[in-house]
Symmetry: D3
Subunit: 186 residues, 6 copies
Amino acid sequence: MAESRFGVVEAEDLPEDLRERIGVIAEKSGFVPNIFRALGHRPDELRAFLDYHDVLMAKPDGLSKAERELVVVATSGANHCVYCVVAHGAILRVRSKDTELADRVATNPWGAELDDRERAIVDVALALTREPELFGQKDIDKARAAGLTDDEIWDVGAITAFFAASNRLAHLTALKPNAEFYSMGR
Amino acid sequence: MAESRFGVVEAEDLPEDLRERIGVIAEKSGFVPNIFRALGHRPDELRAFLDYHDVLMAKPDGLSKAERELVVVATSGANHCVYCVVAHGAILRVRSKDTELADRVATNPWGAELDDRERAIVDVALALTREPELFGQKDIDKARAAGLTDDEIWDVGAITAFFAASNRLAHLTALKPNAEFYSMGR
Amino acid sequence: MAESRFGVVEAEDLPEDLRERIGVIAEKSGFVPNIFRALGHRPDELRAFLDYHDVLMAKPDGLSKAERELVVVATSGANHCVYCVVAHGAILRVRSKDTELADRVATNPWGAELDDRERAIVDVALALTREPELFGQKDIDKARAAGLTDDEIWDVGAITAFFAASNRLAHLTALKPNAEFYSMGR
Amino acid sequence: MAESRFGVVEAEDLPEDLRERIGVIAEKSGFVPNIFRALGHRPDELRAFLDYHDVLMAKPDGLSKAERELVVVATSGANHCVYCVVAHGAILRVRSKDTELADRVATNPWGAELDDRERAIVDVALALTREPELFGQKDIDKARAAGLTDDEIWDVGAITAFFAASNRLAHLTALKPNAEFYSMGR
Amino acid sequence: MAESRFGVVEAEDLPEDLRERIGVIAEKSGFVPNIFRALGHRPDELRAFLDYHDVLMAKPDGLSKAERELVVVATSGANHCVYCVVAHGAILRVRSKDTELADRVATNPWGAELDDRERAIVDVALALTREPELFGQKDIDKARAAGLTDDEIWDVGAITAFFAASNRLAHLTALKPNAEFYSMGR
Amino acid sequence: MAESRFGVVEAEDLPEDLRERIGVIAEKSGFVPNIFRALGHRPDELRAFLDYHDVLMAKPDGLSKAERELVVVATSGANHCVYCVVAHGAILRVRSKDTELADRVATNPWGAELDDRERAIVDVALALTREPELFGQKDIDKARAAGLTDDEIWDVGAITAFFAASNRLAHLTALKPNAEFYSMGR
C-alpha cells in the first residue's frame, strides 16, 4: 500500500524553499507528514497549498488553535477523509489536551456532545460541508445567537472551505496517514 | 442585495500587490470580479486564494484552458454555486467559443451530452464533488481507459478540489456575480 | 446531437389542429420549440400535454405570468432539466424583465436571494419537487403566513406537478433546447 | 380527516361533460374516486388531467393494461404516494389477477422479485422517478437488451412522467384513498 | 420464487424448544410465518431473535400492542421491507381494528395523517430509522412535549432498533411473506 | 456528560445471572462497558441483547473473530455510531493486531484499502447498512465471486443486522464509550 496513488516525492528532491519549510515541520514532529510527499511532484501546487493552509491555520486572532482543528476534524469526518481525520485528530488531541474529543467528533460530528461554543462552531462547518447550497442567513443568525462573532464565523467557513479542497486531494490520491499520527496525543 | 453577506473591500483599499494584480484583471475584463472584493477584507487569504487559483488555472500544460473551465462549471453546477456558475460559465463560453456548453453542463453535469474526452473529464470532477469518499481506483481506471493521462487526472482533481473551497466561500458570503458575467460570451 | 433521443416530427407532419397551434407559437417566437417536435410522433399525447400546459400557464388570475415561470425555473433547476431551465429561463427573463433572476434561481433555487413573496412561491415548489412525501401542513402554513392565498398555493403546486412530468419527458428524450432560447431576453 | 386538504367538489356540481365522464367511472366501480372530487374545484385542470391520463392509460397498443398499472404502482411506491399506491394497487390486482404483486412492488420497487420483462419495465420507471437527471443512454440500452421496444420504453417513461405529476397533486392535497380501494381485488 | 434466498428449514426439523414455540404460533395463526423457516437453519440465532422479539413486543406495560405494531410498520415502510410491511401490516390491522392505517403508514410514514400520540410515536421511530446519527435531544424533547413518557420513548426506540435488524435479515434473505398475511384483517 | 441519556444501572443492582455475566467481562477487560450499564434498567432486554450478541460474535466457525469485528466497525462507521466505533475499534485492534485498520475502516468503510477478502466482507456489510432495500442477488453474486461462502455471507449479514439495532440503541441513549476503549490496543 503506497502512501499515494500517484507516488510521492521526498523532501530532499523538492525546491529549496519547500525543503526548508518541510524540514522545520519534520524536526518538530519527528516525521514528514505524507501530504507533503504526495503533493511534492507539483511543487507550485504544494507551495500554494501550504501558503493558504498557514494563512488560515496559523492566524493569531479569532478562533483558538484547538478550535481550528475542531473545524478540520468535524468537516473531515463528515467527508470520510481518512488522512485528515487521523492526522488532524492527532493535532486536535495535542491542542485540546482532550484524548476523546477528536474520535467523537470525527465519528459523529452532527451528534457528538459538545459545549455550546464548540457546537456552534461545528454547526457552521457542517452547514457548509455536504450541501453548501443550503447554507443561508439562518445559519449565520444561529451562529451569532450562540455568541460567535462575524470574524469567527468567517474563520470557520474559510477553514471548512480549505479542507473541502484538502479532503478531496486526499481522496484523489488515496493518501495514507503516517503511522505516527494514529497514536499521537493519546 | 449586497454583493457579499460580509461586505466588500474595494481594490483601492487593498495592499499594493493585490491592487496591482486586480488592476490587471479589471483592465482586461472591464470590471472587478466580486470575488476579489468579497475576500478583500482578509488580504492574506485573498492573496493565498489567488496564488492557488493561478497555479491551477494558468498552468501551461495538461488540460487546455477551456477544459479547466469545464471542470469548474461542472463541479460548481453540482454544488449549485451561483457565483461560480455565472462567472466561470462566462469564461467557459469565451474559452470554448461555444455559447451553449456552459448552461448545459452547469444545469446537468451528469447528463449533458459531451464528447468522450469532455465526458471523461467531467466524470472525474463529479466523482470528487459531492461524495468524494466514494472516489476510488475504478474512477482512475475509467478515466485512463478514456484516454486521460495521470497528469490530466490530477489536473481535474486538483481544480475540483480548489473549487470545492471556492464554491463554499461563495455560499458562505452569498456572493453575487457581477452583472457583466451573465451576458459575456453569448 | 439530435434534438431528441427518439427523433422528432416536424410541424407540417402533424394533424391540422396541432399544426395550427404550433404555427401560432412559431410565428410569435420565430421558431418551433423542440418540445413540440419531440412529442410530435404521439400527437394524442402532445395534444393532451399542450392542453394541460395551457390551462396551468395561461390561467388569467392567481399567480402572475412571471411568477408561473419562476415556479417552472425553480423546479426545473432542482431537477437539473436542461431543456426546461434554458427554455423557461428565457421566458422568465422576458416576463420578469430581469436578466439575472432565471440563472440565479435555476442554479440554486434553495438559496437564491428573492423577495418574500417570490421566496414563499419557490419554497412551495421546492417542497413538492424532490421529496414530495415530506410535503405537509407545515408547508401550507408557512406559505399562508407569507401571504399566499390557497388559490395561489394550488397554482404553485399544480405547476410544479405538471413540470415534474415535463422535466421527466425531457430527461427521457434527452431533449435539446433550441439555440434561440440561450440568448433570448438577455 | 377530509379527503383533500383543499376540500372536494361533488360530481353533480361539475360541468356536464365531467359529470357524465365521472358518472361512467362511478357506475363501473361503484364509487367516485376521490381524485376527481379533489380536482373538481378547477374543472379545466381536472379535464386536462383526465384527458392526459386517458391518452396514456387507455392506449390500445404497446404495454398491456396490467403493465401500465405496474409502472404506476412502482413509481408511486418510490414517491410514497398513499392515494396512488392504494388506488392503483387495487387496479393492478384486478388487471394482473395477482393478489400480491401490488403490495410487493409498492413497498420495494427496487428489490421486488419480478420476471425479466416486468423488471425491465420497472427499472425504466425507477430511473426516471427520483433522480431523473441521471437517466441516460445506459438506461435505454439496458431496456432494449431486456427486449423492450422503443415504443414500450416511451410508454413507461410517459406514464412515469404523468404520475410524477399525479403523485405531487396527491401530496399537495393530502388526498385520501376511498375505503373501497383498500380491499378491491384481494 | 423461494421463500428465502438461503432456503428454509421446516418446523419439524428444528430443536424441540423451537418446534414447540413455533407450533403455538402456527396453531394460533393457521400457518408458520416464513421468518421462522428462513432463520431455522441457524437454530441458535432463531432462538435469540425470537427471545429478543418477544421481550420487546409482548411487554405488558408501556406502549399498547397496536402501538408497537405501528412502530414496526412505520420503520419497515421507511426501510422498504416487503416481509415486515406485509406481515406486521396484517397484525396491525388485527390489533388496531383499522383496515386502512397499516397501508397508509407503510406507504408514507412521514406524512400519513395520524392522531397526535400516534404521530409522536412514529416520529421517534423515523428519527432512528434512516439517519440515526441525527437523533438527538431535540427528538426526545419533542416526544416528551407530545406526552410520551421516557419509558414509552425507550419502547419506541428499542422496537425500532430491533426491526432495523429484522428488516435487514429480510433483505438479506429476500424473504417472502406468506400469502395469508396479504388479506389478513382486511 | 452522563454515560446515557436515560441513566445507567450498575452491575451490582442487576439480577444475579446478569451480574455474573458482566462480572466475567469486567474481570477480563478491567471495566464494565457502558452498554451493559445503559441497558441495565431493562434486564430482560439486556439479557436478550447479550444472548443475541454472543450467538453471533462468539460463533466458533465461519468468519474469524477479527473479521466479525471488522463487520461491526465498518457498519458502525457508516452509521456514525460513536460508542460502537470506539469500543469495537478497540476490540478490532486487539483481534487483528493491526493498530491502523479500525480507524481507517471506521472513517471511510467504502474506500479504505483492504485485501480482497476483507473488501468482500465489508462490501456485503455496507450493502445492508444504509439502503438495505437495494440489497440484491448482485451483492450475493459479487461476494461469492470474491470467495465468500454462503455461510460467511450469512455471518456478515446477521452481524450487520444485529449492529443496525445496536447502533440505534447507542444513538437513542447517546451512549458514551468508556475512556479505556480509546487507547486500548494502540
